[in-house]
Every structure is written in structure tokens, then in C-alpha cells.
Symmetry: C3
Subunit: 126 residues, 3 copies
């Protein structure tokens, strides 16, 4: 079998922890696997928790959000792509310029998910 390609759809904030755990376990099992995460809905607010995102230094960002972003950053270094839906960023009033550098903004999350499936990515909704 050629390399596996998997698309994770995250649309709830509560789904991040299990999603990142799923991805970590998948990459241990399939180190050559390709992973993209598409976040839409309230889940995009998780991208704003870092001190970096908030300008750094003494911010009151929650430990939990910081932990998620740290995990995302590590997975990004392993090649995982994190995409955020622009429509959702607007709804949650998130300035794209404040996002961590590893986040790719896409015009519409659903379009991205459909495009990836047509490229042979398996769909997973954690």
C-alpha cells in the first residue's frame, strides 16, 4: 500500500484532545502517513490560546489551550497540516494575523475537506 492520507475534521473545541491523540497514534503506526486537519466552527478558537498569539509575556492564556497549541506545533513539525476555515475565523472574530504560523487559512472548510477526499484522503471525524 502506498502512503496513507488522512483528513481529520474538527468542528468542536472539545474534540481537539482526542483528535491530537488520534493523530499521534496514527503517525506512530504509519510514520510515512500524511495528515491534514481542517478546523471549522468553534474549534478554531483553540488556535488563539498561545502567548505567542496574544502578543506574549504575562498573558492570561489558559494552560489547556497552551498545551493544545504546543501539541499542534509538534505535530506540525512532523508534517501535519492545520487548516482553519476563514468563515469560522470571521464568526469568532479572530484576526488571521494573530494565528500561529503553522496554521493555513482556507476560504471554506467544507471545500477543503471535499477537495482532500477527492485527492484520496480518508475522512475521519473524531
Amino acid at each position: 500500500m502506498s502512503e496513507m492520507k488522512v483528513l481529520f475534521h474538527v468542528n468542536e473545541t472539545e474534540a481537539w484532545t482526542k483528535s491530537l491523540g488520534n493523530i499521534t497514534n496514527f503517525l506512530k503506526d504509519q510514520p510515512q502517513g500524511k495528515v491534514e486537519v481542517v478546523a471549522n466552527g468553534p474549534s478554531v478558537t483553540a488556535f488563539t490560546g498561545s502567548c505567542q498569539a496574544n502578543g506574549g509575556g504575562g498573558c492570561g492564556c489558559s494552560l489547556q489551550k497552551g498545551d493544545l497549541l504546543e501539541q499542534m506545533g509538534r505535530l506540525s513539525n512532523e508534517g501535519v497540516v492545520f487548516a482553519a476555515c476563514r468563515n469560522s475565523l470571521k464568526i469568532y472574530d479572530i484576526d488571521e494575523k494573530t494565528l500561529p504560523s503553522f496554521v493555513k487559512v482556507v476560504p471554506a472548510g467544507i471545500t477543503e475537506i471535499a477537495a482532500k477526499q477527492s485527492e484520496g484522503y480518508a475522512y475521519i471525524k473524531p
Copy 2:
């Protein structure tokens, strides 16, 4: 890329609002896209909220349900197909004849979802 085809699976009443929002945003981004929604489980009860469905005139239907049906009707006019699982309609004691005219009844929701995926529809679970 040819036209995108997307199948939305809605099996909870609470998922309607975000699903219809996702579809609206997708069609803004991909006006030629094809969309089908398959509803099974309790989500099918949302099809019964309109005055039209209840015979019209002075019905006590909730505003929220009426809003959902109005949105569905608009999306139906843009070509979105709404399919309801017959098994689920029976469980929730819904008479098919009372459904809005834009709802297509399918014998089994899961079969419809699988058939659409084999026709190249991307699967989305909002």
C-alpha cells in the same frame, strides 16, 4: 477540478443549524457544487415544524423549527437535496404525507449515504 459533490450526514437535531450554515458557506464558495443532506435518527423531526407540514394556520410550531425549514426550503431552491430515512420517520411516528414537498424519502439512510460516497460524494459529518 470538476464540480464538487458533498454529502452531509445529519443524525442529531442539534446539528441542523451548523449543517445549514456549512452548506450555505460551501455554496457561496462553490456555486456549482452539488449537495445532498441525509437525515436519520431524531434529526428527521425537524422536517415537521412548519405550519405547512402541520396543515397550516395557527399551528403552534416553534419559531426555531420554522426557521430551519425556511432555510432548507431556500437551499432546496438552490438545488440542495434533502433526504429522510424511512426507518427513522417510522420510529418518530412521522407521516410521510405531512413532509415538506422538498424532502425525498429513502428506504434506509445508511444505504443512501454509502451509495452517494460510491458516486464520488465527499462525506461530511457536521
Copy 3:
């Protein structure tokens, strides 16, 4: 159309009842259909509820869990494959040797789900 192949992803304990109902209805509609269920996360704890799994005799297993396992056993007899993620079994401290004989353990649930989709299985998240 050739036989339909459907993969059910169950990652919450609460999703078992509707999942088994969906599968039952699907197989009534498509008796030649092939079904695999991949369980990961807390959903794997449902495999431990039977008296059989607990060594039998006077166990305090809940009726509900016993009912689920009985339904799974019946569906397994009809050809439905039940796969449990080994990572999740470890997290929930479940000894593989105590699992019902119809449960197949897979190294990583996400890999199994992706592999099945690449074999033409439709993905369903109940």
C-alpha cells in the same frame, strides 16, 4: 451496483445503540452488504460488559452492556466485523484476552479506518 461496503466509526460509548440500530437497518435493506465497525476511544469499554468477558457467573455486569454485546454477537454472526483499537484498549486498561471472541484487535484504529476507505468502504460516523 456491486455489494455495498460500509465502515462505522464508533468513538463514544453513547454511540453504540444508534450504531447497532443503523447497522441492523442497513443489513435489512442490503442483505449482501459488508460492514466493519472500528471502535476507538472510550467506546471500547462496551466490549467488557458480558458475563462471558468477566469470567461468567454472578457478575455485576450491567444489563445495558450485556444487551449491546448480545446485539453485537448477533450482528457478528451475520458477518459484521468488530475491530477494537489496541491503543484505546491499553488506555482503558482492558486485557485483550478478556474480549469476546468476535472482537478483532487492530494496532491503530485510525489506520484501520483509512485502510478500509481506500478499499472502497463508505465512512459513517453515527
